[in-house]
C-alpha cells in the first residue's frame, strides 16, 4: 500500500507467469466440466474453481501474500461478512 513496503515484494516475473498458467488451466477445467452433466454439482464445481482462481489472484496478483497480518485479517473479515450476508439471505428465502 505504501512505498515503505518495497522490500516485501520479492517475487519476479516468473512466479506471476506461472500463476497465470495455473489460472488458464483452471479456466479450461471449468469450461470442460460444464459440458459434463452433474446436476446441481455443476454449480458447486464452477463456484469452487472460481473461488480457487480468485484466491490465486488475491494472494499473488494483489500481493496479499506479502502484506502484513492486519490487512490479511481485514480481507478475511470482509469475505466473512459477505458470506454471512449471502448465507442469511438464503435462510430467509428458503423458509418463507
Amino acid at each position: 500500500m505504501n512505498d515503505t513496503k518495497t522490500e516485501h515484494h520479492g517475487p519476479g516475473y516468473g512466479l506471476f507467469v506461472a500463476i497465470w498458467g495455473v489460472l488458464m488451466v483452471l479456466t479450461g477445467v471449468t469450461v470442460w466440466i460444464s459440458s459434463v452433466d452433474l446436476g446441481f454439482l455443476n454449480v458447486m464445481v464452477a463456484l469452487s474453481v472460481a473461488t480457487t482462481k480468485a484466491l490465486l489472484v488475491v494472494m499473488f496478483f494483489m500481493h496479499l501474500k506479502y502484506e502484513n497480518r492486519t490487512l490479511k485479517l481485514m480481507v478475511l473479515l470482509a469475505f466473512v461478512i459477505l458470506a454471512i450476508f449471502i448465507g442469511f439471505t438464503f435462510f430467509d428465502t428458503a423458509y418463507r
Binding site: 500500500m1 505504501n2 512505498d3 518495497t6 515484494h9 517475487p11 519476479g12 516475473y13 506471476f16 507467469v17 500463476i19 497465470w20 489460472l23 488458464m24 479456466t27 471449468t30 469450461v31 460444464s34 455443476n42 454449480v43 464452477a46 463456484l47 474453481v49 472460481a50 482462481k53 480468485a54 489472484v57 488475491v58 499473488f60 496478483f61 494483489m62 500481493h63 490487512l71 481485514m74 480481507v75 470482509a78 469475505f79 459477505l82 450476508f85 449471502i86 439471505t89 438464503f90 428465502t93 428458503a94
Partner: protein, 187 residues
C-alpha cells in the same frame, strides 16, 4: 489500506447483485439453464483469457517499476489497456448479436417469455454492464498512471498510484472470474 477499504465496498456492491442472482437461480433453475444456453461460451471464455492475461500484465508492470525498469513498466501498462479494449470489443459484438435476436432489456420479443428467462437476462445486462463500466474506469485509471510514470511522478521509489490502479484492475478481473461461470457455464 484505504484502497483495500474502497475495494471492500466494491465487493459489497457486486455482492448484493450476486445474492440477487443466487436467489433468482434458486427460484427458476430450469429457466436459467435454458437462458444461459443462449450465451456464447467461446466468446465468454475468450474474454476470460483476455482479462486474466491483462491482469498478468498489470502485475508485471508493478514488478518492472519496482526493479526500476520504467520503459518495460509503461509497455506492460499499455498491453493491459489494449487487452481491456479487446474485452470491451468482444463484449460489444456479444451484446450486438443479442440485440439482433431481440434480447435486450425492455424488448417486446422477450416480454412474453417465462419470467425466469427474463430475470436471467435482466441480471445478465445489469451485472455485465456494471462490470463493463468498471472496465472503462479501470482503463482510464491505468492510462492516467501510465502518464504519471512518463512524467516521473510515479517512480520506482514511490509507486502507490500504479499499485492501487493494479489492485483496482485485479478486482475487476476477480468479479469477471465469478460472472463468467455463473452466466455462461451454469447450463
Amino acid at each position: 489500506m484505504g484502497m483495500w477499504l474502497f475495494l471492500f465496498t466494491e465487493v459489497l456492491l457486486f455482492g448484493g447483485l450476486f445474492v440477487l442472482y443466487a436467489v433468482t437461480l434458486g427460484r427458476f433453475p430450469v429457466e436459467f439453464h435454458e437462458a444461459s444456453q443462449l450465451l456464447s461460451v467461446p466468446m465468454g471464455t475468450t474474454n476470460t483469457v483476455v482479462l486474466i492475461t491483462s491482469s498478468l500484465f498489470a502485475v508485471l508492470a508493478v514488478t518492472a517499476l519496482q526493479r526500476g525498469d520504467r520503459k518495460k513498466s509503461e509497455l506492460f501498462i499499455g498491453l493491459t489497456i489494449v487487452l481491456a479494449a479487446c474485452f470491451l470489443i468482444i463484449k460489444y459484438f456479444e451484446w450486438t448479436a443479442k440485440f439482433h435476436h431481440g434480447i435486450y432489456p425492455g424488448s417486446p420479443d422477450i416480454a412474453d417469455w417465462e419470467p425466469g428467462k427474463q430475470a436471467f437476462f435482466a441480471l445478465y445486462y445489469a451485472m455485465t454492464g456494471l462490470h463493463g463500466i468498471h472496465i472503462v474506469i479501470g482503463m482510464a485509471v491505468l492510462g492516467w498512471v501510465w502518464w504519471l510514470i512518463r512524467q516521473e511522478d510515479c517512480t520506482p521509489e514511490y509507486f502507490v498510484a500504479l499499485e492501487n490502479a493494479g489492485l483496482y484492475w485485479h478486482l475487476v478481473d476477480l468479479i469477471w472470474i465469478f460472472l463468467f461461470p455463473l452466466f455462461y457455464l451454469i447450463a
